[in-house]
């Protein structure tokens, strides 16, 4: 595992060998890690890899490395040194950063200015057995992160304004800009959201930022069963109280957030944010609306913050890596019906965010039950299920991302072939969602 004499390192471009990936089942392979610190160096590396047809694993901090089909790449492109906020204008509500900038650094800077990434990106670290507080801003976009405020504020894809990136062809390009309102050309920034590093490597990203709420209060209904909780959340979200988040923690789950401070009874949580007088008024309105739904409690301050952070990060299921965890997105009113049907056939632990439309599931017996779950999701109006935590053997054998209808899968494969014809960027990571093998007719001429 000797260091190669690479001309790139002459220009301060670090390369190093590294130990093989945790969880890798193949025999150990010597891996070279490229650690560029400029966009030009990223371009050089990808252009080289494209010419060599040598696949790269694209990495920020590796906090989400356990999601997707395990990769078998010889080389790694580590973007953690491509770091730094390059533009932040609070009055313009805009922030640009190099792709490897730590999310934590950006969130700290925004908080100092009373602002935030309103989409509340979740931290997968602890759920996947890693540290908390890791992750880069590029990774936030690549996996289209969001959190409990997704209902009202959207996901990363709704806040990205522009990107600079290098495609799998080794071409540096930009899309979008730094202004909120922009319909100039196709929105490639959104195309790259949730592409998990399979289309292009980001070098710079520009996000819309928003004021952080002055006050946050959470109204909690206690002791509701899933179906009553769904009805209560629909009632609250259908009111003008501007509920920003709505979650339901069934009895076995409620005790596992915020250090147990909620107690163990089922908790249906409605978050209201904004200016003090407005929050007080809207909480009163909600209490009136839900006066017959069950016992009501109010929480605020640090406890409210930590409850929502734990829901965001799926803290109730942070318990080692043995049991598979699913993240399912469905129509909110149908979520609990699907879970009820699933409970008849499998041992699962479940809780709900997004008014019931986001379901976190932990499979208690170790089998992901992918076909059973996905079949039930289809029967209950459709959506998608992502196997976010599973043993590498399961991730290699099962589609981690929801399989797509044939025409859509073919379209995604054609896009992959357009942007990465040599299949060098995270090959196979999204497997069935963007097949790496089916090349459509549009890719003719792709070979050099």
């Amino acid at each position: 595992m000797a260091l190669y004499d690479c001309p790139l390192s002459v220009s301060g471009f670090a390369r190093a060998t590294s130990p093989p990936l945790r969880g890798r089942e193949e025999p150990e392979i010597a891996m070279t890690t490229f650690t560029p610190s400029t966009a030009a160096e990223v371009l050089s590396t990808v252009a080289w890899a494209a010419a060599e047809e040598s696949p790269l694993e694209i990495l920020g901090h590796g906090s989400k490395r356990g999601i997707g089909r395990p990769l078998q790449t010889e080389h790694t492109l580590d973007l953690s040194k491509l770091s730094g906020v390059t533009l932040y204008e609070p009055a313009e509500l805009v922030l640009s950063a190099k792709a490897g900038t730590p999310l934590a650094e950006i969130e700290k800077l925004l908080a100092e200015n009373g602002q935030q990434l309103a989409f509340e990106p979740l931290d997968y670290g602890p759920l996947l057995g890693g540290e908390k507080g890791k992750g880069t801003i590029g990774g936030v976009l690549a996996s289209n992160l969001s959190g409990p405020r997704r209902l009202k504020a959207g996901a990363a894809r709704d806040h990205i304004l522009g990107i600079a990136a290098v495609s799998g062809r080794g071409e540096a390009f930009k899309s979008g800009g730094r202004v909120v309102k922009n319909v100039t050309g196709y929105d490639l920034s959104k195309l790259m959201a949730n592409s998990w590093g399979t289309l292009a490597v980001f070098t710079d990203v520009t996000f819309k930022v928003l004021p952080a709420a002055e006050t946050e209060v959470t109204l909690t209904l206690r002791g509701l069963l899933d179906d009553h909780a769904a009805a209560a959340m629909a009632l609250a979200l259908g009111s003008s109280a501007e509920v920003s988040s709505a979650a339901h923690l069934p009895e076995r789950v409620a005790g596992r957030v915020a250090g147990g401070s909620l107690g163990s009874a089922a908790a249906t949580l409605l978050r209201v944010e904004g200016f003090g007088p407005s929050v007080a008024y809207r909480i009163t309105a909600l209490k009136d609306l839900l006066r017959n739904a069950g016992p009501l409690e109010e929480i605020s301050g640090d406890i409210s913050h930590s409850v929502w952070r734990d829901i965001r990060d799926c803290a109730p299921f942070v318990d080692g890596l043995a049991k598979p965890v699913w993240r399912v997105s469905m129509a909110p009113a149908q979520g609990h019906q699907m879970v009820l049907a699933l409970r008849m056939q499998a041992a699962v632990d479940a809780f709900y965010d997004w008014q019931g439309g986001l379901i976190w599931l932990r499979m208690e017996h170790g089998d992901p039950e992918a076909d059973l779950l996905r079949g039930l999701v289809r029967q209950h109006g459709g959506g998608h299920a992502t196997l976010v935590r599973a043993a590498p053997s399961h991730r290699a054998a099962l589609p981690v991302f929801e399989p797509q209808a044939p025409q859509l899968a073919a379209l995604a494969a054609r896009l992959k072939a357009e942007f990465d014809p040599k299949n060098i960027l995270n090959p196979g990571r999204m497997a069935s969602a963007a097949s790496s093998v089916t090349l459509g007719p549009a890719t003719e001429g792709g070979a050099s």
């Binding site: 010419a51 010889e74 204008e89 062809r169 319909v183 004021p211 007080a280 008024y281 439309g357 797509q404």
Partner: protein, 498 residues
């Protein structure tokens, strides 16, 4: 047409017109095929009326199967297709081509489902934007994006253009409010993206489709999210001696953590034109007039009005009125909403531009526009979505004066170049279409444009769907597919082979 180059009509298609019309009648029976020149006249233009062209034939399908068969037929025979919704595009997105089937989606005019527990409406693409709100407002709900053409524009067209409106700073654009679509690809395949759930399972193709200007697929169904109407809305009407002070006031409002439901600015020519037209009671001795609308619970609105009033005062406002009734709030808006026709009264013609700039650059851009106005000898009035930096300069000209349209277009192009120069973009909400197509290189280099065209190639490799729009130059997909990096020619030829 003033110097607009469109794709050369395909002779083989033109020669086979009668056969194509007959085949279209087989696919879409009844009144759904229009081929007489005088009947097609209604479709020769969209909202960008400077450009007109009769299509090969107009087809108005009624079912998804018909759309699929029309597209597959055309794809197999290399016939171009231009999709059209209500034809309100301000950038020529629905401008017909001489050799293309004009596929008009107006018969897809039904609301398919209203789902209050999930706060969702499923509609066919020809339903108007306002039609969605109308369908749910008895329950107190509405659809948030509100382009000013909302009474006429279709939801399918909104998806194609990623339409905005005055409320989009707070409530988002079309892209942030659409959850799913069904569409037909040029090869006839029917594809569904999203649905009643959030986010995509793979690549965010819904995000790409939104704002793709009818070049990627034909939308046949749209699922949108609806919101509960805010309890109240009140507005402030604030005048400033300079545009700098008005601009700083906007920055300070946002800096204070306030995101108004709407925030609009007008310059002196626009204020005067509007006041002369609707007598809204606008002050005439100010350089910039700001309308700030706050919506939500009454207690919140009252609280924020106090904060905004203080910010305005600190920034040297010379007048500040606060609406005391719904009638007064609407009167503040009356002038702004009538700004375009008001300008139409002081000039025989006007040309509406649509750049977006970083807000802080407003004084610089307004000064630049004054210089350009003198250079071209044409007047300009400005209305500005101040919250999000979207500028609508209205260039005043007379189409009957030889050369004035060309001059107005050159003036407009210079304004957009200025927008890009200060860090902005060519179009905030009206789309590229044919209007700004040739300005795309001001913002993107060839490699940037190539990536966009690669998306096109994945959807429609033969460039048959709405060609001549958006892209300044059509490049064959096969050519584009070639790798630019070849062995032996790369940047680091001596890099070790692993």
């Amino acid at each position: 047409m003033s110097g607009l180059l469109m794709p050369k009509p395909d002779d083989a298609t033109m020669r086979r017109r009668d056969e194509i019309v007959a085949d279209m009648r087989m696919i879409v029976p009844g009144e759904g095929v229009v081929d007489a020149a005088n009947s097609m006249r209604a479709f020769e233009s969209d909202g960008l009326t400077a450009y007109r062209q009769l299509p090969l034939v107009v087809v108005l399908p009624e079912t998804v199967a018909q759309v699929s068969r029309v597209l597959k037929y055309c794809n197999d025979r290399n016939i171009r297709v231009v999709p059209r919704g209500s034809g309100t595009s301000l950038s020529g997105g629905a401008l017909p081509l001489e050799d293309a089937v004009l596929l008009v989606m107006s018969r897809f005019n039904r609301i398919l489902e209203i789902d209050f527990p999930n706060r969702i409406v499923v509609a066919q693409p020809g339903v108007t934007n306002l039609g969605i709100t109308t369908a749910v407002e008895q329950e107190g709900f509405y659809y948030a994006p509100d382009p000013s053409s909302q009474i006429a524009c279709s939801i399918g067209g909104n998806v194609a253009e990623n339409s905005g409106g005055v409320h989009c700073l707070k409530y988002g654009l079309t892209a942030n409010n659409v959850l799913g679509i069904e569409m037909v690809l040029m090869n006839g395949e029917v594809v569904r993206l999203g649905g009643k759930h959030l986010d995509a399972e793979g690549y965010d193709l819904l995000g790409v489709m939104t704002g793709s200007e009818g070049l990627l697929g034909v939308v046949t169904e749209v699922t949108v999210r609806i919101l509960k109407k805010p309890e109240t809305a009140r507005a402030l009407l604030i005048g400033f001696p300079t545009s700098e002070q008005g601009g700083q006031c906007v920055a300070d409002i946002i800096g204070a953590g306030i995101i108004p439901g709407g925030m609009e600015m007008m310059d002196r020519p626009a204020i005067h034109a509007a006041e002369d037209f609707v007598h809204a009671g606008y002050p005439l001795d100010v350089e910039a007039l700001l309308i700030v609308e706050l919506d939500g619970p009454g207690v919140e609105v009252d609280h924020l009005i106090g904060l905004v009033e203080a910010i305005a005062y600190r920034n040297g406002s010379t007048t500040c009125r606060i609406s005391q009734s719904e009638q007064e709030r609407l009167s503040f808006w009356a002038g702004r909403k009538a700004a375009f026709p008001a300008v139409g009264r002081i000039s025989p013609d006007y040309y509406c531009m649509d750049g977006t700039i970083p807000r802080k650059e407003l004084p610089r851009v307004l000064a630049g526009m004054r210089e350009l106005s003198e250079k071209y000898g044409l007047g300009v009035a400005n209305v500005f979505h101040a919250g999000d930096g979207n500028l609508h300069p209205l260039i005043l000209y007379d189409a009957n004066m030889p050369g004035e349209l060309d001059k107005a277009e050159s003036f407009g192009a210079d304004i957009l170049r200025l927008c890009v120069k200060v860090g902005g973009v060519l179009t905030g909400e009206h789309g590229v279409g044919v209007e700004k197509r040739d300005l795309m290189p001001e913002m993107f280099n060839q490699i940037d444009l190539d990536q966009q065209m690669r998306v096109k190639c994945a959807f429609d490799p033969n460039h048959l769907l709405n060609p001549g729009k958006v892209f300044p130059q059509l490049r064959r997909c096969a050519e584009l597919g070639r790798m630019h990096v070849h062995r032996g020619q790369m940047a680091f030829p001596d890099i070790p082979r692993f």
